[in-house]
Protein backbone atom coordinates (compact mmCIF):
# COMPACT_ATOMS: atom_id res chain seq x y z
CA UNK A 1 0.00 0.00 0.00
CA UNK A 2 1.31 3.46 -0.94
CA UNK A 3 2.18 5.52 2.11
CA UNK A 4 3.74 8.87 2.96
CA UNK A 5 5.07 9.71 6.43
CA UNK A 6 6.31 13.16 7.38
CA UNK A 7 8.44 14.09 10.37
CA UNK A 8 8.53 15.91 12.62
CA UNK A 9 4.83 16.73 13.04
CA UNK A 10 5.77 20.19 14.30
CA UNK A 11 8.98 22.19 14.35
CA UNK A 12 9.78 25.48 15.98
CA UNK A 13 12.91 27.37 14.85
CA UNK A 14 14.52 30.67 15.61
CA UNK A 15 14.99 33.00 12.70
CA UNK A 16 18.22 32.02 10.93
CA UNK A 17 18.30 28.51 12.42
CA UNK A 18 18.54 26.06 9.50
CA UNK A 19 16.85 22.65 9.62
CA UNK A 20 15.35 19.88 7.51
CA UNK A 21 11.92 18.29 7.15
CA UNK A 22 11.61 14.62 6.22
CA UNK A 23 9.18 12.80 3.94
CA UNK A 24 9.48 9.00 3.87
CA UNK A 25 7.51 7.14 1.25
CA UNK A 26 6.63 3.66 0.09
CA UNK A 27 5.22 3.38 -3.40
CA UNK A 28 5.37 0.59 -5.95
CA UNK A 29 6.60 2.91 -8.68
CA UNK A 30 7.35 6.58 -8.09
CA UNK A 31 6.09 8.88 -10.82
CA UNK A 32 6.85 12.04 -8.86
CA UNK A 33 7.24 13.46 -5.34
CA UNK A 34 5.75 16.85 -4.61
CA UNK A 35 6.25 19.48 -1.92
CA UNK A 36 3.53 22.01 -1.17
CA UNK A 37 3.24 24.79 1.36
CA UNK A 38 -0.07 25.54 3.08
CA UNK A 39 -0.86 28.69 5.04
CA UNK A 40 -3.79 28.76 7.49
CA UNK A 41 -7.12 29.17 5.75
CA UNK A 42 -5.64 28.69 2.28
CA UNK A 43 -5.17 25.89 -0.19
CA UNK A 44 -1.76 24.26 -0.69
CA UNK A 45 0.73 26.11 -2.88
CA UNK A 46 3.11 24.18 -5.13
CA UNK A 47 6.83 24.30 -4.33
CA UNK A 48 8.71 21.45 -6.08
CA UNK A 49 8.40 18.25 -8.06
CA UNK A 50 11.16 15.63 -7.88
CA UNK A 51 11.13 12.69 -10.27
CA UNK A 52 14.18 10.53 -9.62
CA UNK A 53 16.66 9.68 -6.87
CA UNK A 54 19.52 12.14 -6.69
CA UNK A 55 17.49 15.03 -8.02
CA UNK A 56 17.65 18.36 -6.18
CA UNK A 57 15.69 21.59 -6.63
CA UNK A 58 16.08 24.99 -4.96
CA UNK A 59 13.90 28.03 -4.48
CA UNK A 60 15.06 30.91 -2.32
CA UNK A 61 15.76 29.45 1.16
CA UNK A 62 14.32 26.03 0.30
CA UNK A 63 16.08 23.03 -1.19
CA UNK A 64 14.42 19.68 -1.85
CA UNK A 65 16.31 16.42 -2.32
CA UNK A 66 15.18 12.89 -3.18
CA UNK A 67 16.46 9.37 -2.49
CA UNK A 68 14.79 6.04 -3.23
CA UNK A 69 13.07 6.05 0.16
CA UNK A 70 12.74 9.64 1.31
CA UNK A 71 12.87 13.30 0.51
CA UNK A 72 14.22 16.18 2.55
CA UNK A 73 13.16 19.80 2.49
CA UNK A 74 16.09 21.84 3.74
CA UNK A 75 15.35 25.33 5.02
CA UNK A 76 18.38 27.61 5.20
CA UNK A 77 18.33 30.66 7.47
CA UNK A 78 14.53 30.69 7.75
CA UNK A 79 12.50 33.84 8.23
CA UNK A 80 9.17 34.25 10.06
CA UNK A 81 7.36 34.33 6.70
CA UNK A 82 8.45 30.72 6.12
CA UNK A 83 6.07 29.67 8.90
CA UNK A 84 3.49 27.33 7.35
CA UNK A 85 2.58 23.67 7.05
CA UNK A 86 4.72 21.81 4.52
CA UNK A 87 3.03 18.91 2.77
CA UNK A 88 4.62 16.06 0.84
CA UNK A 89 2.76 13.92 -1.71
CA UNK A 90 3.63 11.12 -4.12
CA UNK A 91 2.21 9.99 -7.44
CA UNK A 92 2.28 6.28 -8.23
CA UNK A 93 3.28 5.45 -11.78
CA UNK A 94 0.64 2.72 -11.83
CA UNK A 95 -2.15 5.13 -10.92
CA UNK A 96 -1.34 8.69 -11.88
CA UNK A 97 -4.84 9.93 -11.20
CA UNK A 98 -4.32 10.72 -7.54
CA UNK A 99 -1.71 11.89 -5.09
CA UNK A 100 -1.02 10.21 -1.76
CA UNK A 101 -0.42 12.90 0.85
CA UNK A 102 1.41 13.00 4.15
CA UNK A 103 -0.02 14.71 7.22
CA UNK A 104 2.39 17.63 6.95
CA UNK A 105 4.97 19.33 9.15
CA UNK A 106 3.85 22.51 10.89
CA UNK A 107 6.78 24.93 10.91
CA UNK A 108 6.94 28.02 13.14
CA UNK A 109 9.85 30.44 12.79
CA UNK A 110 10.22 32.89 15.63
CA UNK A 111 11.78 36.33 15.06
Amino acid sequence: EDQVTQSPEALRLQEGESSSLNCSYTVSGLRGLFWYRQDPGKGPEFLFTLYSAGEEKEKERLKATLTKKESFLHITAPKPEDSATYLCAVCNAGNNRKLIWGLGTSLAVNP
Binding site: L87, K98, I100, L103
Partner: protein, 115 residues
Amino acid sequence: GAGVSQSPRYKVAKRGQDVALRCDPISGHVSLFWYQQALGQGPEFLTYFQNEAQLDKSGLPSDRFFAERPEGSVSTLKIQRTQQEDSAVYLCASSFGQGSYNEQFFGPGTRLTVL
Protein backbone atom coordinates in the same frame (compact mmCIF):
# COMPACT_ATOMS: atom_id res chain seq x y z
CA GLY B 1 -5.07 35.62 -14.53
CA ALA B 2 -7.54 34.42 -11.94
CA GLY B 3 -6.71 31.38 -9.89
CA VAL B 4 -9.00 28.59 -8.75
CA SER B 5 -12.05 29.88 -6.93
CA GLN B 6 -14.47 28.05 -4.68
CA SER B 7 -17.84 28.98 -3.27
CA PRO B 8 -19.13 29.29 -0.72
CA ARG B 9 -16.07 29.77 1.46
CA TYR B 10 -18.00 28.69 4.52
CA LYS B 11 -21.11 26.53 4.80
CA VAL B 12 -23.03 25.53 7.90
CA ALA B 13 -25.56 22.77 7.42
CA LYS B 14 -27.92 20.95 9.73
CA ARG B 15 -27.49 17.20 9.78
CA GLY B 16 -29.56 15.68 7.02
CA GLN B 17 -29.42 18.69 4.70
CA ASP B 18 -28.03 18.53 1.18
CA VAL B 19 -25.16 20.85 0.20
CA ALA B 20 -23.51 21.83 -3.09
CA LEU B 21 -19.95 23.13 -3.31
CA ARG B 22 -18.74 24.89 -6.43
CA CYS B 23 -15.29 25.01 -8.02
CA ASP B 24 -14.18 27.32 -10.84
CA PRO B 25 -10.85 26.02 -12.15
CA ILE B 26 -8.26 27.95 -14.09
CA SER B 27 -9.45 28.38 -17.68
CA GLY B 28 -8.05 25.72 -20.00
CA HIS B 29 -7.04 23.31 -17.27
CA VAL B 30 -7.84 19.77 -18.28
CA SER B 31 -7.64 18.10 -14.88
CA LEU B 32 -9.75 18.84 -11.83
CA PHE B 33 -9.45 17.23 -8.40
CA TRP B 34 -11.53 17.32 -5.24
CA TYR B 35 -9.97 16.68 -1.83
CA GLN B 36 -11.24 16.51 1.73
CA GLN B 37 -9.00 17.91 4.46
CA ALA B 38 -9.71 17.38 8.15
CA LEU B 39 -8.15 19.66 10.74
CA GLY B 40 -4.44 18.92 11.14
CA GLN B 41 -4.44 16.36 8.34
CA GLY B 42 -3.21 16.26 4.78
CA PRO B 43 -5.63 16.39 1.88
CA GLU B 44 -7.46 13.14 1.08
CA PHE B 45 -8.26 12.45 -2.57
CA LEU B 46 -11.96 12.28 -3.41
CA THR B 47 -12.31 12.32 -7.19
CA TYR B 48 -10.62 13.25 -10.48
CA PHE B 49 -11.99 14.68 -13.73
CA GLN B 50 -10.24 14.85 -17.08
CA ASN B 51 -12.31 17.43 -18.94
CA GLU B 52 -15.91 16.31 -18.37
CA ALA B 53 -15.07 12.67 -17.71
CA GLN B 54 -14.91 11.47 -14.11
CA LEU B 55 -12.04 9.01 -14.37
CA ASP B 56 -11.56 8.21 -10.71
CA LYS B 57 -14.07 8.46 -7.88
CA SER B 58 -12.46 5.91 -5.62
CA GLY B 59 -12.01 8.39 -2.78
CA LEU B 60 -15.66 9.36 -2.38
CA PRO B 61 -16.51 8.11 1.13
CA SER B 62 -20.08 7.05 0.44
CA ASP B 63 -22.86 7.18 -2.13
CA ARG B 64 -24.02 10.39 -0.47
CA PHE B 65 -21.15 12.14 -2.27
CA PHE B 66 -21.56 13.03 -5.92
CA ALA B 67 -19.42 15.20 -8.21
CA GLU B 68 -19.92 16.48 -11.74
CA ARG B 69 -18.18 18.61 -14.33
CA PRO B 70 -20.69 18.61 -17.20
CA GLU B 71 -18.96 21.02 -19.58
CA GLY B 72 -15.38 20.34 -18.60
CA SER B 73 -14.93 23.55 -16.65
CA VAL B 74 -16.94 24.34 -13.50
CA SER B 75 -17.39 21.44 -11.10
CA THR B 76 -19.85 20.82 -8.29
CA LEU B 77 -19.43 18.49 -5.33
CA LYS B 78 -22.76 17.54 -3.82
CA ILE B 79 -23.23 15.91 -0.44
CA GLN B 80 -26.65 14.50 0.33
CA ARG B 81 -28.05 13.98 3.83
CA THR B 82 -25.00 15.50 5.50
CA GLN B 83 -23.57 13.87 8.62
CA GLN B 84 -21.33 15.34 11.32
CA GLU B 85 -18.38 13.33 10.03
CA ASP B 86 -18.64 15.25 6.75
CA SER B 87 -17.39 18.38 8.52
CA ALA B 88 -14.08 19.30 6.89
CA VAL B 89 -12.48 21.64 4.38
CA TYR B 90 -13.18 20.65 0.79
CA LEU B 91 -10.41 21.65 -1.59
CA CYS B 92 -10.55 21.85 -5.35
CA ALA B 93 -7.45 21.84 -7.55
CA SER B 94 -6.85 22.05 -11.27
CA SER B 95 -3.88 21.38 -13.52
CA PHE B 96 -3.03 21.94 -17.15
CA GLY B 97 -2.04 18.39 -18.04
CA GLN B 98 -3.55 14.98 -17.51
CA GLY B 99 -3.12 13.06 -14.30
CA SER B 100 -1.54 13.97 -11.00
CA TYR B 101 2.10 14.40 -11.99
CA ASN B 102 1.66 18.02 -12.98
CA GLU B 103 1.61 21.00 -10.66
CA GLN B 104 -1.83 21.41 -9.11
CA PHE B 105 -3.31 24.83 -8.38
CA PHE B 106 -5.58 24.86 -5.37
CA GLY B 107 -8.54 26.99 -4.44
CA PRO B 108 -8.98 28.39 -0.93
CA GLY B 109 -11.38 25.62 0.04
CA THR B 110 -14.90 25.47 1.43
CA ARG B 111 -15.16 24.87 5.16
CA LEU B 112 -18.23 22.73 5.82
CA THR B 113 -19.60 22.46 9.33
CA VAL B 114 -22.44 20.03 9.95
CA LEU B 115 -24.37 20.61 13.17
